[in-house]
């Protein structure tokens, strides 16, 4: 089991200039800010179930940039159909990473479906995503960190995350500013 803040820091440690991040509503957004605020992060304070589709829209619009969606198991479960949509599109520049701790952190750590036997890796595989990674340890995490920047096809990774609930680190809340920052960063990178 990996600690969530350290896992996010490892994935973003040697972040490429062209890597844009969509963290999901809740803990993964707090994890992303804790790793360092960045104009290339599209933080989500809502829109649960939408992280993968936001990442897909961005990845399709900017095929020369890299897009990573790093979200939690609860957020992913709400948008599970979007894995089917991604499976049809297969953008080479999109990586979907699920921090799977088996709990809904924001609402008080209630068990999620992944604790009840649902396997998101099998869901992704069944949706036609071929590059699948089951990350259980530091070595796996480092491999994933490299692949996020270099993989030549759609990637789906599940990261086994310990069920702790670290103190919140909050990003800006102004949605217009969050959006405009990312758009300016895309223009600068593109």
């Amino acid at each position: 089991m990996l600690e969530r803040r350290a896992a996010m820091a490892t994935l973003l440690a040697n972040r490429r200039d062209d890597l844009f991040l969509v963290p999901g509503l809740g803990s993964t957004t707090w994890d992303a800010v804790a790793a360092g605020d960045d104009d290339r992060n599209f933080y989500l304070w809502g829109a649960m179930g939408g992280a993968v589709m936001i990442g897909l829209g961005l990845a399709l619009a900017q095929p020369k940039l890299r897009v990573a969606v790093i979200t939690g198991d609860g957020e992913m479960l709400m948008g599970m159909g979007s894995l089917a949509t991604v499976g049809v599109q297969q953008p080479a520049n999109l990586a979907i990473v699920v921090f799977d701790n088996g709990y809904y952190g924001e609402t008080g750590m209630q068990a999620s479906h992944t604790r009840g036997g649902v396997d998101l890796l099998e869901v992704a595989r069944g949706c036609g995503i071929e590059r699948i990674l089951d990350v259980q340890d530091e070595a796996g995490l480092r491999e994933l960190a490299g692949l996020i920047g270099t993989c030549d096809r759609t990637l789906f990774a599940r990261v086994a995350i310990a069920a702790d609930d670290p103190p919140r680190v909050l990003p800006i809340r102004d949605g217009v500013e969050i959006k405009d920052r990312v758009r300016r960063a895309v223009e600068a990178a593109g």
Binding site: G55, G57, G81, R183, V186, G190
Partner: protein
């Protein structure tokens, strides 16, 4: 069943429709083209079948088949982050699926163009279409979307053009409701 098609049949007639065949979906398609729409999200729909076919046949438009309409809201947001304009095609029942995701549009002031084919009104055979169809307009307005409605084929292009101007000029959600009179009643017994 497969009214929208997944690349089957009739492809050859799509790129150059005969002048006599040009109807409102073709004129609507031209508005999308001249407006620079580059991504089109849709759930297969009989009323939008022709427009979807045109989008699929156009190399400059990415057609993204969705499992549920709310995916299309998040897709359009992601596309806009990447500097592309998107549109969402759906049936009236799909509006209900979009409600929470429209928070993303309002909070971040994303432009959002929605083209809605209406069911549950004129000559509807299926009473199950009526509950959602009858509340589409107030629902969208409560979600802070601008709503316009078209009853006649000759007004489709102008109305959609105005919605494009408002959506992308004012960074807001705009929906055009395409009356069931435009589409005709669904044939149930063949």
């Amino acid at each position: 069943m497969n009214a929208a098609g997944y690349g089957f049949g009739r492809e050859n007639s799509l790129t150059a429709p005969l002048k006599s065949e040009i109807g409102w979906p073709d004129r609507l398609f031209e508005v999308l083209k001249t407006s620079g729409i580059r991504q089109v999200g849709y759930v297969p729909d009989a009323g939008h079948a022709r427009l979807i076919e045109r989008c699929k046949a156009d190399p400059d438009i990415l057609d993204v088949v969705l499992t549920t309409e709310e995916e299309g809201i998040a897709l359009a947001a992601g596309a806009w982050l990447g500097g592309q304009r998107a549109a969402l095609l759906m049936q009236s029942s799909g509006v209900g699926n979009c409600i929470n995701m429209l928070s993303l549009i309002r909070t971040c002031r994303f432009p959002m163009l929605m083209l809605v084919t209406m069911r549950g009104e004129w000559e509807e055979f299926n009473p199950w279409q009526v509950p959602m169809g009858s509340i589409v307009e107030p629902t969208l307005k409560l979600c802070d979307a601008h709503v316009s409605r078209v009853e006649t084929p000759e007004k489709v292009a102008d109305t959609v053009q105005a919605a494009v101007q408002l959506a992308f000029g004012d960074d807001r959600a705009c929906a055009v409701l395409l009356s069931q009179k435009l589409i005709g009643a669904k044939v149930w017994v063949k």
